[in-house]
């Protein structure tokens, strides 16, 4: 059961976070048509850690995130250059098996996007696609992930209910469960709490904190307080000459309390952005 998890299942593994690069981003630039939105980003995403990407809107955080699972390929006119090293392979390479890559690097979106199917089928469908056919195993995996995200108690008696009838926060947790059911190593989260009410947001935030150590998490957030609370590391993006750049990266606490770059200082203290 623990196979595929970075360190282990939520219920048993202990939290840890080591500065070992899980993803190494080198010289990454993103263009839409002719317009460069992100330039020359070098960044290591550490294994088992939660890395928060902060910065004002439009500075390329989301583009950066969706370059990491190549979902940006779906956007018309987007082109990415540079390298992203994952398992000693540059996954920006043309030859990369995208389906496999995206099964290893899951993604959570800003707006919860459960499929208009039953709760059960939302989770069974991705499993079915990777070839898990044994019904008992499917059921067991579904129970595990629903417990991991704290939804089991709430929904176990109505698994055949349409998922879109759940509340926003429940939907987002279901989406996280759906990503976890494939046992990915890395989770990319694009402002996962911004479409939720404060209480649901707090629940999802706690869930994200509990992922620390078991999965490598990269989270884009506009909520600096949230970034401070959940992240081990933080990366600050800023627009320079209308192009997004990575300004500063470091331990989250250090970056928030003793920013080295004056831009970072201005941003985290609320004077800019």
């Amino acid at each position: 059961m623990t196979k595929g998890y970075t360190i282990g299942q939520l219920t048993e593994a202990k939290a840890c976070c080591e500065p070992i690069a899980h993803l190494s981003v080198r010289d990454l630039s993103v263009k839409y048509q002719q317009k460069t939105v992100l330039e020359n980003v070098d960044l290591d995403i550490y294994k088992g850690c939660i890395t928060a990407l902060i910065g004002p809107s439009g500075c390329g955080k989301t583009s950066f995130l969706s370059a990491l699972n190549r979902l940006i390929d779906m956007t018309n006119g987007a082109s990415v250059s540079g390298q992203v090293w994952f398992d000693d392979k540059d996954m920006l390479d043309r030859q990369t098996d995208l389906l496999n890559l995206r099964r290893r690097i899951g993604m959570i979106f800003q707006k919860p996007n459960p499929f208009p199917l039953s709760i059960y089928r939302n989770l069974a469908l991705p499993l079915h696609e990777i070839g898990v056919k044994d019904k008992q195993l499917i059921h067991q995996k579904i129970e595990t992930v629903l417990k991991d995200v704290g939804l089991w108690e709430e929904v176990h008696h109505q698994l055949d209910m349409t998922a879109t009838k759940l509340s926003g926060g429940q939907q987002q947790r279901l989406c996280i469960a759906r990503a976890l059911v494939l046992e990915p190593e890395i989770l990319l989260m694009d402002e996962p709490c911004s479409a939720l009410d404060p209480i649901s947001s707090a629940i999802v935030e706690d869930l994200i904190v509990s992922l620390c150590g078991r999965y490598t998490v990269v989270i884009v957030t506009h909520n600096l307080a949230q970034a401070k609370r959940v992240a081990n590391y933080a990366a600050f993006f800023w627009m320079q000459e209308r192009v997004g750049k990575l300004i500063e990266f470091g331990h989250s606490q250090r970056l928030f309390e003793q920013p080295r770059n004056p831009l970072t200082a201005a941003f985290v203290n609320g004077r800019k952005g």
């Binding site: 389906l99 707006k111 996007n113 499929f115 469908l125 055949d160």
Partner: protein, 277 residues
Amino acid sequence: MAERLFQLSIWLVALLVLLILLWLVQGLLDQGLAKLSFEFLFSHPQNAGRDGGILSILVATLLILAVTLVVALPLGLASAVWLAEFTTTNNVWARKVRLALDVMAGVPSIVFGLFGYAFFSIFMGMGFSILSGGLTLACMILPVFIRTCEIGLRDANDSWRQGAAALGMPKIKAVWYILLPAALPAISAGLILGIGRSTAETAALIFTSGYVDRMPESLMDSGRALSVHIYDLSMNVTGGDAAAQASALILLMVIILLNMLAFAVTDLWLGRSVIND
């Protein structure tokens, strides 16, 4: 005051439409009802349709419709999926196809009839046959069906496409398991529209499936569709009015039944995708 007047006029217009419809049905019932019986449904037409029933005609109608749907459904869905999911909105070919479809949707059915006669009956050597008629009807309903399905698919939430891709699902699987079920209301609307047009069609069938009123023995036999039968009885057969109206009543019922069936089938399909497996 203006609000109430507006409401009143809307109600009146709706009532008027309903009245016209009832008037039509009443006209059919007037002479048709007396002729309508179990016997009428299950015996063959005699004396050019004045006497006897419409069994062979009912069979021919359903056979033609079956051919139409068997051809139009997969072809239409595949085209819609290609247009909506596998081409960008600005793709040159997709734009040409879309334009062609929109033009074809406005072509009068008699033109489809002539095309079907020239292409299926003569060129392909199918002669006057149920197959030729069914294929002609398929050509006729495809444009509207494809465009309705395409719009239904495009309306499906983009976040589902992204969600499926982020889970490493191949595109075609996302289409099959998520987007097509989501577009089902549009698909069934297109289907019902197509069925309605096919069952009511006369002009496209006269030259293709013909008007032989014998029981068809194969798809290569000529067969007379209900609408052609009604046309023939009321235009060419003196004293055939009662039979024509009874047939029209049956046609009305067939269309209602088929619509209900289409709803039931799509519901079943939607159920399949929602219920646990």
